[in-house]
Amino acid sequence: MVYGSQFTVHSKKSSENFTVNSKLQTPNQFTSEVVIGIECHVELDTKTKLFCSCSTKGNENPNTRVCPICLGHPGSKPVMNKKAFDYAIKLCMALCCKLDTELIFSRKSYFYPDMSKNYQITQFERPLGVGGHIKTTEKLIKLKRIHLEEDPASITYPGEMYSSNYSLLDYNRAGNPLVEIVTEPDIESPKQAREFLNKLILILSYLKIFDINTCIIKADANVSVKESGYSRVEIKNITGFKELERALVYEVTRQKALIKAGRKIERETRSWDSISKTTKKLRTKETEEDYGYIIDPDLCIVDVTKKLTEDLKKEIPELAHQKVERFIKTYKIDPVDAEVMVSEIELADLFEKVSKKANPALTAKWLRRELLRVLNYNNTTIKNIKFGEKELTELITLVDKKTITESTAQKIMEELIQKPFSPKEYVEKNKLAQLSNQAEIEDFCKQAIKENPKALQDYKNGEEKALQYLIGQVMKLTKGKASPEVVNRMIRGLVDGK
């Protein structure tokens, strides 16, 4: 991956069909400490591969989902998967790219055991989408291009890669549909890169074209630092957004250290090793690979018609960043809560349904704090819960009206995860309603003070912790049904009054 130079090398004199308008940023234009460009490969969630009808999922035994086409048997010919085409168009639209009017594929020739034809069918001259952007909290990350291509096979080794005498090939993955997304060198920190990838994954899951449980997202990154005059290094083989941040932090640190030690940054390709958590040199970048691109004459041209894009646009749901804006505006909730609400589309839907009847700000806080806590603790996800807006609406209304304490509500949430029930009925049945009788609470406070003279003394001496202890004792006595704030006030009143 390079900053646009591939286009200028190949298409200086080409007709307009072959030039892609890509703003070539020279190192002179950079000003930030760190400059990062990312190239991600996203596996689309289709049933079949990009050019053949083999299943993309299922039997994990090697070479069980292969056919003459994905094995590249002489005589076989590729045929384009309509679903992958639709998905890619939707993604381009969601990322605000400019769509090409035609779908045209190229052959990228290079020899490697994981390439069953020793060329990859990809889109070089005519990417499906150009331009576009993804919004992160700090800035808008500009995209260069988006295109479709086929995945190579997976290589493993009988032992360690460097010491094995041969390699082992499984072509199950060969031919899987990938979308490649390339950013401009717009990202200014590893943290920003992580957020970028996160936001991309969010868009992909909202569009329902990517299943985070079964599909893979891989990234290559170009990294350079100001100190070196932005001499860039390519890092390959990064899987997932956590590894991306780790790899980038490591590489930036490595480069800065080299400069400090008076050494130069060589233009090279390095590989991220997630086990040793380091980047290792793969090869130097002096010789650019010559891929000898031609248009693939086995695939016919497909028109990207206005009708198709209009139909597909209707299928695009409100996206996460649009929801955030609407939630803040309509429901007047905290922006941080809003960002969390949209992190999963099921959560966003749940929030809205509950907010129809219950207090939205409180709903957002509760879903964010309590629901997610309980889901994490039980190692499950929102997709698996058996209760819904009915139970949550009841629960949050009970909290809002101060019918129950927060502590009681937390316990009810923990129970709901196990099996659904009506919180309202549960509270009535088990007499869990908050203690609202002030006299009763005062009696309990007096009892706690009486039973814990040392704590009382410590509190009088200025130890706040003793007060907390006393409050805790009252909570025990009331079985959690008293409001901690009320008890706090009351004890202070009793003690200070005394």
Binding site: V79, S109, G292, P297, D298
Partner: protein, 439 residues
């Protein structure tokens, strides 16, 4: 004419011993359906896949490759009751005009009329067996730049190539994807028409290579024929004699005029070879001793070492030359001047044909300017001289128009007349060919 299958197989083996037309005599995994092609025996050029028979494209690197599927065109014929009797030899991957560029360890076929001469290529085996078969037979062959019409002319049979895309290429081992067409050879025009109609139409599986249209209907009428002036230069005396006689006879039954095709004649060869070799070099990249065909010892070496070893040892010289030429033509720095340029010149060539077809029904020329040369003569040719031999055939192949060679000689060595029509006008072409047949 013999019609017993056992006898037919035996006859083929006998012919093969003398003439080397087959890479394999055998039936493959065929369906024995009842249909309108029952009793018809077909030979299949060895770059077209037939299940359970090797498909080598006459190359050593594919020895042992047994496809898991029948080519769609073949499957359609089997569905109608045809029987495959063997695979015919060709130039390695189709790289040649004389069928002398067979792969390592393959035998060169000999002309059925004179064994000291070549059959023509690249479908030499197909043309030869078509000429000699004494049983109900058509040959299924393939043309990229003239590989059907040239051997048809040299061997004295009819060789027909349909509109590009009308017959599915699924199952055809690629030479050049934008030029390859599956076609038919037979002794008489009538024999190939039902075979052609059975091969086209609704596809068996999803297919990007096929044009899902039918040839146009043709109501017989007097035809306007254009004889391509540039093609009449440089003929040898025997060819000239036969061509002149045929044109004069044609003038009695059709409106015959001279037409010009200067652009195609000047730029056709480089355009063809640059596009064909560019595509071929990517198609042949997959042949590296993995996944099928010839396999070596993979341990203790890197993949580049292994691939290079297998490829260098198992490709013939012409295959190597075309791979290199094609790789060069699409290299960065040369790609615009060679590969891209050629694809644009191709547009102009197609336009030149289309303009003529606005006025003329059929265009004609000699198929080859010479009769089948002797083996020693061919050996003396340099590569570029070899390529220039395709001067009369690359045009219709680049344009993807239907065309055919029909024998016109009354005596002596075979001579072919080539006829071309617009896209999807096969029925008009067949009508014209039958007229010529009766002259």
């Amino acid at each position: 004419m013999i019609d017993d299958p056992e006898e037919i197989f035996a006859e083929c083996k006998k012919i093969n011993e003398k003439y080397n037309y087959f890479t394999e005599v055998g039936q493959g995994a065929g369906d024995s359906n009842k249909g309108m092609l029952n009793g018809l025996y077909i030979t299949v050029k060895d770059n077209i896949c037939v299940k359970a028979l090797d498909a080598t494209a006459s190359s050593k690197i594919l020895k042992g490759y047994m496809p898991e599927f029948n080519a769609t065109a073949i499957q359609r014929l089997l569905n109608q009751g045809a029987t495959v009797i063997g695979k015919t030899v060709c130039d390695e991957f189709g790289f040649g005009s004389f069928n002398t560029n067979v792969g390592l360890d393959f035998k060169i076929p000999k002309n059925p009329v004179d064994v000291t001469r070549v059959t023509g290529g690249s479908s030499g085996g197909a043309a030869g067996i078509t000429a000699l078969a004494n049983f109900r037979h058509v040959a299924i062959a393939e043309s990229t730049g003239g590989s059907i019409e040239c051997p048809a002319a040299f061997c004295g049979v009819v060789g027909f190539c349909p509109t590009y895309g009308l017959v599915s290429r699924y199952g055809l081992i690629d030479y050049a994807n934008s030029l390859d067409k599956i076609g038919i050879m037979s002794k008489k025009v009538d024999e190939m028409i039902p075979v052609f109609n059975a091969m086209i139409g609704q596809t068996i599986c999803s297919d990007s290579t096929v044009v899902d249209q039918r040839p146009k209907e043709f109501k017989p009428r007097k035809l306007k024929v254009g004889i391509i002036k540039e093609s009449l230069k440089g003929m040898d005396s025997h060819v000239e004699k036969e061509i002149t006689r045929t044109i004069n006879a044609l003038k009695k039954i059709a409106n015959v005029e001279e037409v010009n095709l200067p652009f195609t004649f000047k730029y056709g060869i480089p355009t063809y070879y640059l596009i064909a070799t560019s595509e071929a070099s990517t198609n042949l990249a997959k042949l590296c001793g993995m996944r099928y065909g010839i396999q070596g010892d993979v341990e203790q070496k890197t993949f580049n070492e292994y691939f290079t070893e297998i490829r260098s040892a198992n490709f013939g010289e012409e295959a190597k030359r075309r791979i290199m030429l094609g790789t060069f033509a699409r290299m960065s720095g040369y790609r615009d001047a060679y590969y891209i340029k050629a694809t644009k010149v191709r547009t102009l060539i197609i336009q030149e044909y289309k303009k003529l077809f606005q006025k003329y029904d059929v265009l004609i020329s000699p198929t080859m300017p010479i009769v089948a040369p002797k083996f020693e003569e061919v050996k003396k040719l340099t590569p570029i001289q070899n390529y220039m031999m395709d001067i009369l055939t690359v045009g219709p192949n680049l344009a993807g128009i239907p065309h055919a060679s029909i024998p016109i000689h009354k005596s002596g060595l075979p001579v072919g007349l080539m006829a071309m029509t617009e896209h999807l006008e096969e029925n008009k072409l067949f009508h014209f060919l039958k007229l010529v047949e009766e002259l």
